[in-house]
C-alpha cells in the first residue's frame, strides 16, 4: 500500500507547476504587487515502514551546580555554573506494529526521557523520530488520539472526584462516540475488575486501585501505541501479576504496540520477547530476551544431583568452576563452549540422578552489564 503526502509551501517565484498523480499543470498568481504563489509537492513513499522509527536520538539537559552553605548561596547570586547532562546519547531502533517491547535500565539510564521524546513531550536535542508516520513533537491531533502514555508515579485522574468523571472528560476530549465508549469501558472494567470503584473518589482508593483506574483512563480511546513508564512501581506482588496479565491480554486482543519501561525484571521477563537495554543514555542491547545471556555472559550453569554422595576430591579437575557443593548437589559455572563436553564427562564419570544445563539468571547478567558499564 502506498502513502501519499501532499506538502504545501509558500515561495516567492511567479510560476510553478503542480504535479498531481500523472499529470502536471501550471498555476500562477499575483497578489497586489507581491509575487506570491503556491507550490504543492507530492511525496510518494512506501507505507511499509515501522510504526516507530528512531534515528540517532540524543537529548541533553542543563544542570546548575551550587556549593553548599550560605557562602555558596551568595556565590550563586552572581555566578552560576552549568554542566550538560546527556540523558540520551545517539540511540536508534525500529519497532513494528503489535510488538511488546521492554526498555530496561537502572534509574537515570534515559528510559523515561526516550519515552517522552517518542510521545512528543520533550524536544530532542538531535536525531530523527517518527511515530505513526509523523514527528511526535509536532503534536498533531490525529497523532495524539492514537497514543497513550501511562506513568506509574503520576496520575491524570481528578484527585477529589470519582474516576468516572475523568473518563467522561476524556470521552469528550478524544471525541469517542457513545457506543464505542460504553463498549471499551465495559471491556476494560471487566478485565480489571473495577466495577465497584470507578464511582468512588480517587483519593480514597489504594495505589493498586488507582493504577487500574488510570490504565482504563488511558486506554478508553483505544490507542495504537501505548507507552508504559514503570506501570507496576510501588504495587504489591499480586497486583503486579494482575497488571501484567492485563497488558499481555490487551496487546494480544487489540494488536496495540506497547513499549514498557521497568526496572522490575519480572515485568520484562513475563511480557516482552524483545528488549532494549539502555544505560547512561546509550543503547547496549536490542534483541530477544533469550539472547541476552548469549551476548553478555560467557557462562552456563550446570546443576547436578548425584545418586549417591560424592567426595569433593573426586571433582578436583573442576575445582575452579564449582559454585556450590554439598554431598549430593553440585552447581558449576562453566564456559559456554565447554558446557556440553563437561556435562558429558560428568555423566560418564559419576552416578548422576539429574543434570541440568541452564542459561545464567537474566537479572544477574544484566546487573553485571550495568556494573561493568558503570566502571567505564
Amino acid at each position: 500500500m502506498l502513502l501519499l503526502q501532499v506538502e504545501i509551501s509558500f515561495t516567492t517565484d511567479i510560476l510553478w507547476t503542480v504535479p498531481t498523480a500523472n499529470y502536471w499543470f501550471p498555476i500562477s498568481s499575483r497578489l497586489a504587487g507581491l509575487h506570491l504563489g503556491l507550490t504543492a509537492k507530492l511525496i510518494l513513499y512506501n507505507q511499509i515502514m515501522s510504526i516507530i522509527n528512531v534515528e540517532n536520538l540524543s537529548k541533553s539537559f542543563k544542570i546548575y551546580k551550587k556549593e553548599p552553605g550560605i557562602k555558596g548561596s551568595f556565590k550563586s547570586l552572581f555566578k552560576r555554573e552549568y554542566h550538560e547532562k546527556k540523558a540520551v546519547n545517539n540511540v536508534s531502533f525500529n519497532i513494528e506494529e503489535g510488538e511488546l517491547i521492554g526498555f530496561i535500565g537502572p534509574n537515570g539510564a534515559g528510559k523515561t526521557t526516550t519515552l517522552k521524546c517518542l510521545s512528543g513531550l520533550i524536544c530532542p536535542t538531535s536525531g530523527k523520530i517518527s511515530v505513526l508516520g509523523t514527528n511526535p513533537f509536532d503534536r498533531k491531533r490525529e497523532f495524539l488520539k492514537k497514543i497513550a502514555l501511562v506513568m506509574g508515579q503520576k496520575s491524570q485522574l481528578w484527585w477529589d472526584l470519582p474516576a468516572m468523571e475523568t473518563y467522561l472528560l476524556n470521552k469528550d476530549i478524544y471525541e469517542i462516540n457513545d457506543t464505542a465508549f460504553k463498549k471499551t469501558l465495559d471491556e476494560l472494567v471487566d478485565l480489571l475488575q473495577v466495577q465497584d470503584i470507578i464511582n468512588v473518589q480517587v483519593r480514597k482508593l489504594s495505589l493498586g486501585q488507582r493504577m487500574k483506574c488510570e490504565l482504563i483512563c488511558q486506554l478508553l480511546h483505544s490507542p495504537k501505541v501505548v507507552f508504559l513508564d514503570e506501570p507496576t512501581i510501588g504495587l504489591d506482588v499480586m497486583m503486579q501479576k494482575r497488571l501484567r496479565e492485563f497488558i499481555k491480554t490487551y496487546n494480544k486482543e487489540h494488536k496495540a504496540t506497547i513499549i514498557l519501561t521497568s526496572h522490575y525484571m519480572e515485568d520484562v521477563e513475563e511480557l516482552c520477547k524483545r528488549v532494549i537495554i539502555i544505560n547512561y543514555g546509550e543503547k547496549l542491547f536490542d534483541g530477544n530476551l533469550a539472547d541476552i545471556s548469549k551476548k553478555f555472559s560467557w557462562q552456563k550453569i550446570i546443576t547436578v544431583v548425584f545418586d549417591k554422595p560424592v567426595e569433593k576430591e573426586q571433582l578436583s579437575i573442576l575445582k575452579s568452576q564449582i559454585k556450590s557443593f554439598d554431598a549430593t548437589k553440585l552447581v558449576l559455572h562453566v564456559e559456554r563452549e565447554r558446557s556440553n563436553k563437561i556435562a558429558a564427562q560428568l555423566l560418564a564419570d559419576f552416578p548422576i540422578a539429574d543434570l541440568n544445563i541452564e542459561e545464567p539468571d537474566i537479572q544477574e547478567v544484566i546487573r553485571a552489564v550495568f556494573a561493568k558499564n558503570a566502571k567505564k
Binding site: L121, L144, I147, K154
Partner: protein
C-alpha cells in the same frame, strides 16, 4: 469550535459535581468572595470620602467603576484564575505532561480546567452597585448601552487572559515563581482606576499601565454615557495584540519544557 464548547460544557458539569461534593469548601469561598466584593466598594468610598470628583469622574461614577471591578474580578475568578494559580505546581512537578499528551490545545485545557462557581454571588453585588448608582444619577438604562458594557467587559476579559497567560508562561523557565499570580491580581487592580489618571501624569514610562486602565473605564463610560476618545479602538487593539502574542509565546515556551522525572 463546537469541539471546544463541548469540552467546556463537560468541564462546567464536572466542576459543579465537585462543588456539590465539597460544600463546606464552597461556603468558605463564597464568604471570602463576598467579603472581598464589599471591600472593593468600601475601598473606593474611603478614597473618595473627602472629595467629590477626580480626573473628570464624579464620586458616584468612581463607585460604579469599582462595582464594575467587582463584576470583572468575579468573572476572572470564575473562568480562569484558579488555573493560573496551579500553573507553578503543575510545571514544577512535571504534570504538564498529561495536558500535552492530549489531542486538545494544552493552553485551553490548562487555563479553563477549574471553574470557580463561588464567585457568582460577587457578580450580584457588583451589578447591584452599578445599577443603583445609575438609578441615583438618573442615567437611562438602555439595551444598547448594557450590551456594549457587557461586550467590552468581555473584551477586557480576553485581554486579561492574554496578559496572565503571557506572564505565567515565564513559569516554564522559572517553576518556583508560584507567587506570580498574586502579582497578576495586583495588576488587575489597576483597572479600578480611570484611564485619565495615567494620561494626566504625562509620564511615558507609566503608559504600559494604560491597557489595564482601559479594561473597565471603557465599558463604564459606555454605560454612563461619558465621552469616549478612542477608548474602544485602543481597547480592541490592545486585546488583539496581547492575545495573539500570548498564544505565540506559549507555543514557543513549550519547546523549553523539560518535564520533571
Amino acid at each position: 469550535m463546537f469541539y471546544y464548547l463541548r469540552v467546556y460544557w463537560r468541564l462546567l458539569k464536572i466542576n459543579f459535581v465537585y462543588l456539590l461534593a465539597y460544600r463546606l469548601n464552597f461556603i468558605n469561598k463564597v464568604i471570602s468572595s463576598l467579603g472581598w466584593g464589599f471591600y472593593q466598594i468600601v475601598w473606593i468610598e474611603l478614597l473618595t470620602y473627602k472629595t467629590q470628583s477626580v480626573f473628570g469622574w464624579s464620586k458616584n461614577e468612581l463607585i460604579a467603576l469599582a462595582g464594575s471591578f467587582v463584576i470583572f474580578t468575579a468573572l476572572v475568578h470564575f473562568f480562569f484564575s484558579r488555573n493560573f494559580q496551579e500553573f507553578s505546581r503543575i510545571i514544577n512537578y512535571g504534570q504538564l505532561d498529561e495536558y500535552l499528551i492530549k489531542p486538545i490545545d494544552s493552553q485551553f485545557l490548562l487555563t479553563f480546567k477549574i471553574v470557580d462557581y463561588s464567585n457568582v454571588f460577587r457578580i450580584i453585588i457588583g451589578f447591584y452597585f452599578v445599577f443603583s448608582i445609575m438609578i441615583k444619577d438618573h442615567i437611562a438604562i438602555s439595551l444598547v448601552n448594557v450590551m456594549g458594557y457587557l461586550a467590552l467587559m468581555g473584551c477586557g476579559l480576553v485581554m486579561t487572559y492574554g496578559i496572565w497567560s503571557a506572564f505565567s508562561t515565564i513559569i516554564i523557565w522559572h517553576p518556583q515563581l508560584s507567587n506570580l499570580v498574586d502579582f497578576l491580581f495586583n495588576l488587575n487592580g489597576m483597572s479600578r482606576y480611570p484611564k485619565e489618571m495615567i494620561l494626566n501624569t504625562g509620564n511615558y514610562l507609566l503608559f504600559f499601565l494604560l491597557p489595564f486602565t482601559l479594561i473597565l473605564s471603557t465599558p463604564t463610560k459606555i454605560l454612563f454615557q461619558k465621552t469616549l476618545s478612542g477608548d474602544i479602538e485602543l481597547l480592541l487593539l490592545f486585546t488583539i495584540i496581547i492575545f495573539i502574542f500570548s498564544r505565540w509565546f506559549w507555543k514557543f515556551a513549550l519547546r523549553f519544557y523539560t518535564s520533571a522525572s
